[in-house]
Point group: C2
């Protein structure tokens, strides 16, 4: 038996097998620890010069840091150059202007994010905010994405040391446009924030609620694209991660540690991605900037990568999810 569920935010559909009880477990396939990790404290000379770091009065690119941000050694986009739009016959392109940074989240060689202390996770979360704030001053940069790839099947590099990546883009990505548009249409119709309504409904229905803290709810989305997909939403309506409060950072650090640990135990250290879905840069004043403060609500997605996309997903952007989110939530709840 299947249900075909619509994701109200992005208007995408997912076929959910609501009968299957078998969980596929696929290991993250983490590269082994070597003595040569360039992200460890003491190895600073082996990376490009740091862009930002949390330090106790130590000089840049030397030991004595807690979080360190460096440019990607092989960046896919570069900060130099004008934002040029060029037509190529019927096609369009913009020049490859942007940024590609790596946020090293611990000086020690720790692979699993949830093994960091809450304080250390909080420092990373605050670094995300600081980097977004800085890059939003550049109006060529339309969207800043922060994400983590854990394990080879999730696209992780050969460096296992806990880190996140940041990519600043010269165009707003279609998935974000879909989310903005879904949220805008809902607000226009209901005069309420879609995400605030989702929070309320999920707390009431409870079957997809993994847990809630003072400031956040953790759910398995109704139209989960992947088994054990997780959505973390701040309870306070807020369109921008840049505006996250100190108390929210402390709470979120605890929430992330708890949910990542539960996923680790239930799925046996699966490959996963974590993505911060923030609002776009408002500086260029594109057409969404007026309403976004009311209708958008930042959130975090965690997607275990224990299923391979087939030609079906590639051809349709429909997804097939063989494990119901209600079952995933229940299993996670009993492993918190």
């Amino acid at each position: 038996m299947s249900e075909v569920r619509r994701d109200i935010v992005t208007d995408t559909w997912v076929i959910i097998d609501i009968e299957n009880d078998t969980i596929q477990k696929i290991p993250a396939d983490i590269p082994k620890l070597t003595n040569n990790c360039p992200f460890c404290e003491g190895q600073e000379s082996r990376t490009p010069n740091e862009i930002y770091a949390i330090r106790d009065n130590t000089p840049p690119d030397k030991p004595g840091w807690k979080v360190r941000v460096i440019p990607n050694i092989r960046p896919i986009l570069r900060i130099e150059g004008e934002l040029e739009k060029v037509g190529v016959g019927v096609y369009d392109m913009v020049s490859g202007v942007g940024a590609n940074e790596v946020i090293i989240e611990t000086p020690e060689h720790i692979v699993n994010f949830f093994e960091l202390s809450e304080e250390q996770i909080g420092l990373s979360l605050n670094t995300y905010r600081i980097r977004i704030e800085d890059l939003h001053k550049d109006k060529r940069l339309r969207y800043i994405l922060i994400f983590r790839n854990h394990g080879r099947r999730a696209g992780a590099s050969t460096i296992a040391h806990a880190h996140s990546e940041l990519i600043a883009l010269p165009a707003t990505p279609i998935r974000i446009k879909q989310k903005l548009e879904g949220a805008r249409q809902y607000y226009e119709y209901k005069e309420r924030c879609l995400f605030c309504d989702i929070i309320q409904q999920e707390i009431e229905m409870a079957d997809r609620l993994v847990f809630q803290s003072d400031r956040f709810v953790v759910i398995t989305p109704y139209a989960s694209r992947f088994p054990f997909e997780i959505l973390i939403i701040p309870k306070r309506h807020c369109y921008s991660y840049q505006l996250i409060e100190k108390s929210e950072i402390a709470d979120l650090a605890n929430v992330l540690k708890k949910i990542c640990k539960a996923i680790y135990h239930v799925l046996n250290d699966p490959p996963y991605n974590l993505v911060l879905n923030d609002s776009p840069n408002l500086l260029p004043k594109l057409n969404y900037w007026k309403t976004i403060k009311n209708d958008y609500h930042w959130h975090i997605e965690i997607t275990p990568r224990i299923y391979r996309r087939t030609g079906f997903e590639l051809g349709t952007s429909f997804y097939i999810n063989r494990f119901a989110p209600e079952k995933a939530a229940s299993i996670l709840r009993s492993n918190l």
Copy 2:
């Protein structure tokens, strides 16, 4: 150096590394031949009863066939039941009505599609048409997708015997909606078919043209999402695969054999997906049905799966392609 290119059909963006010359080669990882293939001639009793077959007066579910269509043994959607739409609070679902068929493309145990004879490939292509025609009589079925998964990383099952899959969906998928909308907007503005214009431009520019036959062009798309992505477009403007002509089937069989063989040799038998991008079922008379005959143009996508999506692609639907389509086309041209 990168270029950020926009796919004019779907409004998605791809960051293309135009400097890299290294091709990543990943083997398809095909399960080994055993004596137990249930898709081989003589093993008909081990599959569900056939829905359709090309036979020379032999009885159903017995040997003596050339192409055989069976239901998927573990269907994700079922043909029985009403198409019900249900609201679940703020969410929507429809019942899991649809179809999930397997098209066995040869009675012999051949794994690589391009090793079939042109005549045999033509029989498969005609079977696609017949199955689409049949399922389009059912107005609950909004979209029929036919696709092939080759190799484990492309989501293939454990059965290596050459086959395609068909999934009939109760809702039109977002990627198809994006394509329909992109094509409609272009037609509205230019009063010309977008795909016809792409064909003309690609033949003139020639740098992404792999080859052309009498009836088809084979290109690497300007905004290719993946290295060595291929687009096959019929030269004759036609919105629906159901209307493919006999001479087009013979020509397409030759074209597919040629391009799949070239991909096999250049990338060393990579995992890949092949997807038929047809128009939706017009029977339910949804709002696209009036203009679609002018503005849509069916086509086939082939996407080698030699790159893993990271959190970046998941979070944005932006793609990063580390091998320029112009270089891919040039390499394929010299391996035809």
